[in-house]
Amino acid sequence: MILARLALRNLLRQRRRTALTLMVVVAGFLALSLAGGFMAQTFQGLSDAAIRGGLGHLQVLPPGAAEGDEAQSLEKSLPDGEALAARLRTDPAVAEVLPRIQFMGLLSSGAKSVAFLGTAVDPVLEPKHMATTEALTGGARAAGGAGSRWLSPDPSLREVILGTGLARALGASVGSSLTLMSTTKDGALNAVDVDVVGLQDLGLRELNDRFLTVSLATASQLLDAGPARSRLSVVLRRPGDTAAEQARIQALLAETSVKPWFELASFYRQVKLLYFAIFGFMGLVLFLVVLLATANTLLMSVMERVREFGVLRAMGLQPGQLLRLLQWEGAFLGLLGSALGLAVTLLLRAGLNALHLQMPAPPGTSHGYELNIHFVPLVYAIVAAGLQATIQVSALFPGLKAARLRIVEALRHV
């Protein structure tokens, strides 16, 4: 403990220099922790968007349906999807199963026809588990979107909700009557007249230009689907168990392909990789700055104490103990820097979140979002551990320099 006490006193000896070094450590902690909190917000937002945008936690698909255009037809489907959904609903880990039909075709308004990508959903279950209402709120603000509402639970009604871009292309609005055309499961051409009951803004322009939603009853009539479904979106009771449940349910449903949401949400994965690359590089630069700053401080401190080290060595201090002394100094710098960094991070985080800053819309999306830097203790722990390790490494060189001093020369040092 005497070495620890000596180390602490030595840091207090040059208060200004120690304070400057601490500021570098605090700045490093602050930048990395805020970036980590921002990343957590982004990942959370993207994962929520993917899960509540229709994927659920797990997707049960016909084998090979995740690849190619077959995903947009019933050519490859779960032949008795409804029965499979009923079976899965009895599983204790499953909160709900949302069957879906994905299809494509032409949407006509008089002489105008536009190709569409359609999804048929259960009008009762869908709003309970998916972010349908939020998309509708966005659509209601678009031209012709006033009075937007969700699909009626009545299976006899033929209703459609259009993406805002698709509605604009057809000059349609809430209340318009349109014709949906597609091919049935057996390849015959079929058409159904539908009423537009709402517009939706899905956040991506490309989706808004092509996407529409109908009830399973409407799609069944159009496609002559019977009990066949394109896929089932499974909502789990414990989202954290997604990976484990995927393996378990896959084993139960060997004839299907069960995929977790994060394998299917390619946008989420790409953004995650991009963020890791950007913030990883930023972290590397910051760690390097901390390394150089602390190494410089400790080296200057060693150069100023050459004679003192000579005296300590003369008194019997082993070279390894001098190395440990410098490691203690690094340890205190790191601990104090991280503690101060955490305090400043929490304060700044609270301040920034209180400002309700609006972030611009990310590329390819149609609306921005509010900045809400997350509180992520794991990130703080990783940053603190990383900084501590960096500082301990930076203390090695000055420590070795001190340990290698020749005593008689150190005692002569002026």
Binding site: M1, I2, R5, L6, R9, N10, L12, R13, R307, E308, V311, L312, R313, A314, M315, G316, L317, Q318, P319, Q321, I407, V408, L411
Partner: protein, 224 residues
């Protein structure tokens, strides 16, 4: 207690050969011995060899009959920590520690607990007349007080041999005299052996044995 046998340590200083050459001497237990001679005569070099701070080119250092000059560095460190004490011309107290903490330092480095080291350090400070200054840092002490604290630090672990390099050189006569009296008293009282490098006549006058050096060689031995 201390035997230096045919000790040689040569080095270049300003283009000239300096150091000590073939010095042999013996210092008995409880003796206040002085290495006397002008600047550059090899006093400090010999003291550093005797204190295991440097390694001789030739010759041997024996402490209590044991050959110690050829020991590996770790064992020499341990020996310095447990058997030797040092007093330097510039006092060289650790500036961030109080007088008491400075005296406790070698004890704690030996592994003595703080609870045990504190009374021993307080007694050592009391013996050198610094009981009321124990919580002062070196910067708050006069030169004489700092050197007395350094003596207390050297003596607190009860060493066999205390090596002092020009201990009065940074002090005026008023402070140097009492310090020497104190060292002589402690040598008699504790049976500690002192080897002091000095050209101060006041130091030489109080010595039990004087070894005179010139150009790195022993040229005389006196027993006043």
């Amino acid at each position: 207690m201390l035997q230096l046998c045919n000790l040689t340590r040569a080095y270049e200083l300003g283009g000239e050969r300096a150091g000590v050459f073939g010095v042999s001497l013996a210092v008995p237990k409880g003796c206040l011995a002085v290495l006397a001679g002008p600047s550059g005569s090899g006093k400090t070099t010999l003291l550093q060899l005797a204190g295991l701070l440097d390694t001789p080119d030739e010759g041997e250092v024996r402490l209590g009959g044991e050959l110690v000059s050829s020991l590996p560095e770790k064992a020499r460190c341990d020996l310095r920590l447990r058997r030797l004490g040092f007093v330097f011309q510039a006092f060289n107290l650790v500036p961030v520690l109080t007088a008491l903490e400075n005296v406790m330092l070698p004890l704690q480095l030996q592994g003595v607990t703080e609870a045990e080291a504190r009374p021993r350090a307080e007694a050592a400070l009391d013996r050198v007349g610094l009981a009321d200054r124990r919580h002062h840092r070196p910067g708050q002490l006069s030169g004489g007080q700092q050197q007395r604290a350094a003596i207390a630090r050297a003596l607190a672990p009860d060493p066999l041999l205390v090596l002092a390099d020009e201990p009065t050189a940074s002090l005026d006569h008023a402070h140097g005299g009492p310090l020497l009296d104190l060292m002589a008293e402690l040598a008699a009282e504790r049976g500690a052996t002192f080897l002091v490098a000095s050209h101060d006549p006041a130091v030489i006058a109080r010595a039990h044995r004087v070894f005179r050096l010139m150009d790195g060689m022993l040229v005389g031995e006196e027993r006043p």
